[in-house]
Symmetry: D2
Subunit: 400 residues, 4 copies
């Protein structure tokens, strides 16, 4: 059977030249698959056509924006998904969706191979390849950048060799990955950890110091899902988009971090994710009101583990699925409104209301209406501390 390579196609120089290159290396054909995940930029039809112009036998464009928002961003909101307590998994949650569509395209178009453009030192190779093998281990995987040391210089030389008409713009110093959930930036000078990011690397967010007037808004959730902003119903996608816009205008959602990659190294990463950051912060604030204490304490552990699993490329793994079952079971009552203020890079929650609240005014108040029976406390305190009291006594008295 001759090879048919289904390629995750971005439209950029590298994957464009990869089309004839993969065809040559395998002696087969290439099917290009491109997803619209809300990354903006070039229109998708141009991307589609470029793949065909470069020799792809099929070029497929999929508008996956709502699917991405509903099936990948929403679970991340429910899990308050933050790797290392900071990074809202911008690239990590897009890869499994790309995998899904590549594997479907392989099935539909007789693909024998799947291919991605990732290098061997990043996380995305893992997310792609574990995803492919989980979904269909019969597909052979080609990772030219890693396995053939396929670099930009080689790509340009190869394009010239085969007379592929590529637009060779002044090479950008930035390595970017972006979608509606956020934007990731790497660039050479940031590899010195002491260098601060410069203003030109940001695209989703304005400078926080601009001095815009604060923007107050209300996000409504039902069962953990954002359903309205300022009272106006929204889809999850619309919620992210509007909050990207309003948060971006306030410089909200920037992140400068040193990240623990799965392959064992640390790397410097810059992210912008205004909508993601706002939604997760609001969701957490609503959980603070609607989840019982012990459940909330445990869910924080589960959320952290969920984030690690997703970061580590195990979106389709059995543990991730069972963590989802836990998380889903907690969201029934995460319903209500969160009011927050966006300003100068900050997200400040200052109000919450919910028919599902566990906050009980009459138990909490120190004013008229107090129903808390304080006589219960004395015994509680005594027995709550008893095992520790006994241990301290032993520590003072123990003899060998």
């Amino acid at each position: 059977m001759s090879a048919r390579v289904v390629l995750a196609y971005s439209g950029g120089l590298d994957t464009t030249v990869a089309i004839p290159y993969l065809a040559k290396m395998t002696g087969g054909e290439v099917v290009a698959v491109s997803l619209d995940l809300g990354q903006g930029g070039e229109d998708m039809e141009s991307v589609r056509q470029r793949a065909l112009d470069s020799g792809a036998v099929e070029s497929i464009v999929i508008d996956a924006r709502d699917e991405f928002a509903d099936e990948y961003c929403l679970p991340t909101i429910k899990a308050n998904g933050m790797y290392m307590k900071q990074y809202p998994l911008v690239s990590a949650i897009s890869r499994p969706l790309i995998v899904k569509h590549l594997v479907e395209a392989a099935k539909e178009h007789g693909g024998t191979h799947v291919s991605h453009g990732c290098t061997g030192k990043g996380n995305d190779q893992v997310r792609f390849e574990v995803g492919f093998r989980n979904a269909n281990p019969d597909l052979e995987i080609i990772a030219p950048a890693r396995d053939y040391a396929w670099t930009r210089d080689k790509a340009i030389a190869f394009a010239e060799e085969i007379d592929l008409p590529i637009e060779q713009s002044a090479s950008s110093p930035f390595s970017i990955d972006q979608n509606v959930w956020g934007r990731a930036i790497e660039t050479g000078y940031l590899e010195d950890l002491w260098n601060a990011p410069t203003k030109d690397i940001y695209a989703y967010t304005e400078e926080p110091t601009l001095g815009n007037a604060p923007d107050e808004l209300i996000i409504s959730f039902e069962g953990g899902k954002p359903v309205a902003i300022d009272g106006k119903p929204v889809t999850v996608l619309e919620a992210i988009e509007e909050l990207n816009r309003r948060g971006g205008a306030q410089g909200v959602g920037r992140l400068d971090m040193v990240e623990d990659r799965l392959v064992g190294i640390k790397s410097r990463e810059i992210y912008e994710a205004p909508g993601a950051m706002i939604l997760i912060k609001a969701h957490e604030a609503l959980e603070d009101v609607t989840l019982e204490r012990e459940l909330a304490r445990y869910k924080r552990l589960v959320d952290a583990r969920w984030s690690e699993e997703v970061y580590d490329g195990l979106w389709f793994g059995p543990l991730k699925r069972s963590l989802d079952a836990f998380i889903d079971s907690t969201q029934e009552h995460v319903t209500g409104d969160i009011r927050l203020v966006l300003h100068a890079g900050s997200i400040t929650v200052n109000g919450r209301r919910s028919n599902h609240s566990l906050y009980d005014f009459n138990l909490a108040t120190y004013d008229t209406g107090d129903t808390f029976d304080q006589t219960m406390a004395k015994g509680f305190v005594k027995l709550h501390g008893l095992s520790s009291e006994i241990a301290n006594k032993r520590d003072r008295e123990a003899t060998n």
Copy 2:
């Protein structure tokens, strides 16, 4: 033996009237103990004298500011101590230190009882009483506010009855607890969770919207301990004080949250803790550079549990001590500088440098000098995902 009550004395109306009240209730004497934890306000000598004027047989004032910073705030920095990922344990870490000094005073001055002014629905009663029993279970505990339903109105009536000359200022609507590590505010209108905090409740921080120019600074750590700011050596206390001042000027460190109290209810709390928030954020950023991935992942769980134990009044408990042993063992290499910008309520880390860094430019760079052997990645990815691959295969094929 006649009673001798050692009272945690704040100088306020309630504990002042409690002095003759406790003497009357027990038929004994009262020893007042007051700690300077950097809470500011009235000078401590006036506090000391007022206790004597109100009938205390002894009145002791202890400058515990450095002890508090070194023995209570520093472990909190090392543990990135945040209850519910937000609250830097402002009151929670002060109570064990007060306990320690009350128990010492009881030993020195023949105390038979210890007393605190907390109610029966808060956390501080737990922190006091578990602390007392852990340190010296022979001391009897009196909690008049809880056990005798001792209220402000009763206190005023009693003061009049015994002709105690108290200054009865216009009663503040705020319930405040403060020390150098932060400030906690509760007040009636905030018991409606939808009400936003008003500006008059803040004392440690300016409005974030003031429009001050950003303040960039460098914090240096050695073994997890802040040792210099902008190159100038500082004690832990000085670090907190300076960052309170500079962070406060930028509106940094405000917190509006709904909190899960140990006694089982949720409550609305406002905090200001600029120094605490800045130090923990900087410390976390330095850990991101100097702690190995698996250690860092586990330490986040340990940090969270540490924070719960401390919040729950178990500072002197055996688990807290062993969590400290874990945490201390991780701090040896948390040494280096963090550069950050304070502005309009935000703390933004934008640079880090350390001779103990685990970041390896040559492994991370995509430029010249790359030493990462990408050929290792293919096998890693395969085996990293193998158990999940087998499980997904089984899921597709399983038959009963």
Copy 3:
């Protein structure tokens, strides 16, 4: 409204005398509720009649054996429920079921109060009362043994006072709780931890040293549920009963432990639970074959937390429900057969087979048929250890 007390009625002396006592204390009536949980002993009709003879206005007997097995024991099997890695929660899982039926009886019979016979230093008071308040906080709780210091001596005196004809057998030195899931024994001489249990305290198990021939059997599970023994279909109740019989004959399932009670003290406990121990051991062995590694590792943590929640009386708590959601999601493929040998107190698994197995002979074998690609391992090992390698290098080289 006059009081109507719904009492958890065992038929024993204490709760029998409690019937007139509760009527007197409340000036109301008593409804007795007794559950058949497979505890054996006296027939339930006699129990029912005795309550009426003692003055109960209603006496209800419920055959809850299958409900207990299906709704309480089965989740414990799925969770491999063992408190402190040892105790299969014999009493802990029966209390919530009793609670459920008492609350239902209160609804049906106009109950205003619920009552149990537990003391104030055990766990069962917690399980009862938290259960009652979770299910119906309007019911008032009476715990005479704790709140009125109601003791056996007082009970006997009261019975004489009111001429209640009770059978005053030679008082047993044992305090027993038993149901089909197991049997718990406390007795005075075991309060010295150095004393070994004597033979007379056991009822569900023979001496392990009897020298019976080993008993080999096969337990079949579907989705985590035991469905057949030696190929013969069984209900969960039947499975427990048969394994109690066969395991008991081999002295299997005895436990002598020092237990951490929720009220803060340690206590010595003896248990017999042959069926429980065998089923959990077999279930774990099947999970070893059918759960993926990372899921299995995490489930062990969840199982332990589940056991703590149940032990701590939080069966109806929100965390327990979400842990159940996690656990249930893992059980789909826990299907197959476990062969084990019971002998002289030991349970030894020696065979497992499953169409849902994740064991892959061709990957595991060192013989012909090996499909494991060993060339993948080199890179895996390198990157698996890379972060630790870098950390050790730093440790050797770090300078301040």
Copy 4:
């Protein structure tokens, strides 16, 4: 620089032939290093001489038995080290010690390479190689069985080719690894999970069904370390040896399990580890008496993680070291005596005594002397369950 390969030498056929093979492959010399870890069998001097006869330029034998017991087995006892709750890490803890001595030998004898005989589908390659790289990343690693597909057949052919006089005994069907801590057995017919182990595979243990009289013994610990058996002082090594003997005679310590290997596959493993199993069981029983409840609950999680780290080859990793710090801090009071009975494969604890006990007879007893204040319980129960009570109320009432 010419190669000098430091080889982990067992004395068996494979590593014997590997000596000339490695010399040939590298064009260099081979230094053989053999450790006595209490594995028994052939005397170590014969092993040493065989390496020289086979062409090694140096052959070093190290009696590491006490070092193994004190530095590797003892931490495993303190951690109750059991992978998957079952496997006491027999091979996993020996590899890091072998690594340590190989790296030292490389330093002393100018080694440039280190070599081991493991295949590419087991765990030991990981333990060796991560260990080597952690200790000295400059040493190059050669794994002929994996990297050159060096098999027994090839070894025999090569021996003939170079006229190496090897003793070619009837090839054993068993693959064995053993040391004083235990014995691991793999063999072809057990790769069918339904086959039961046959009697001939065991060497450390008698058949449990032999019918020996029960053996009662007392193990004394100090600070978590076994220091005496039946009152007679022992080193850790002696403790393990004696318990291997006495436990082995009773058929104690056999294990038949399906194990999750780090490389992603499941494998069937048989172990015998009487001393290890007895010591860990006794140690756990003593911890039940001497560790405070919350510490004990958390330590169980830490123990499990410790076991995973060690199993996964990360003995020298930073997380393992910090987990050790936690564990060590818990052991101060794990001092006292455990009495247990060995019989027919079972280990039964039936007595414990300790001057460091947290068990308080007066708090636990139901007889005369009871000092537990039951009036404290009512309030404890109420507040312990309050957050759950509120949550259940909300669940019943919540409206959208």
